[in-house]
């Protein structure tokens, strides 16, 4: 059963939570690549890492223990303190 709430705001924003705005440029930023541990995902991310690296963009690699569950809190906290943007993959 879904809950309905009444909007307490000035209603200048969209009703639902929007994803954060992306940075205008990746210069000086660190991209986190999060491997969800499904087969072949690492190869895909390896290639992305190389492509980013070729463009001089700093990359950090992460891997969660299993694709069946959300990433452990410690990994989330670590990523949040070490990266500026994130790409997660590869779900299949």
């Amino acid at each position: 059963m879904t809950t309905t709430l009444l909007d307490p705001t000035g209603e200048l924003d969209p009703v639902h939570r929007q994803p954060l705005a992306k940075p205008g440029s990746l210069d000086g930023l660190t991209v986190g690549l999060l491997d969800i541990s499904k087969a072949r995902g690492d190869v895909f991310l390896d290639r992305l890492e190389t492509l980013l690296d070729d463009r001089g963009i700093t990359v950090k690699r992460y891997k969660k223990p299993t694709f069946t569950r959300p990433a452990p809190l410690t990994l989330i906290q670590q990523m949040a303190s070490e990266v500026d943007v994130v790409v997660e993959g590869l779900a299949d």
């Binding site: 639902h16 939570r17 994803p19 954060l20 705005a21 992306k22 940075p23 205008g24 440029s25 990746l26 991209v31 986190g32 999060l34 969800i36 499904k38 087969a39 072949r40 995902g41 190869v43 895909f44 991310l45 390896d46 290639r47 992305l48 492509l51 969660k64 959300p70 990433a71 989330i76 990523m79 949040a80 990266v83 500026d84 943007v85 994130v86 790409v87 997660e88 993959g89 590869l90 779900a91 299949d92």
Partner: protein, 73 residues
């Protein structure tokens, strides 16, 4: 996808990549979670591809990957 939502809540924008069989599931999950992260879908299947094929997929997707983490100019 929950991970992207969690990181978004901690100030880290981004998105996730999935094979296209995930499109419907992603929509449903987004509705249930009340949050639709940016996503990119690549051609299915994935599991049986060779390293070269995976690399090629990554190359083909790269511009769209950038769109997950960088605002359009």
């Amino acid at each position: 996808m929950q991970d992207i939502r969690e990181l978004d809540g901690r100030g880290i924008p981004g998105g996730y990549i999935a094979s296209d069989v995930f499109k419907t599931a992603a929509l449903t999950q987004g509705e249930a979670a009340g949050f639709h992260p940016d996503s990119l879908f690549v051609p299915h299947p994935i599991q049986d591809r060779t390293d070269e094929e995976m690399a090629a997929l990554a190359e083909a997707a790269f511009e769209n990957v950038l769109a997950l983490i960088r605002a359009a100019p």
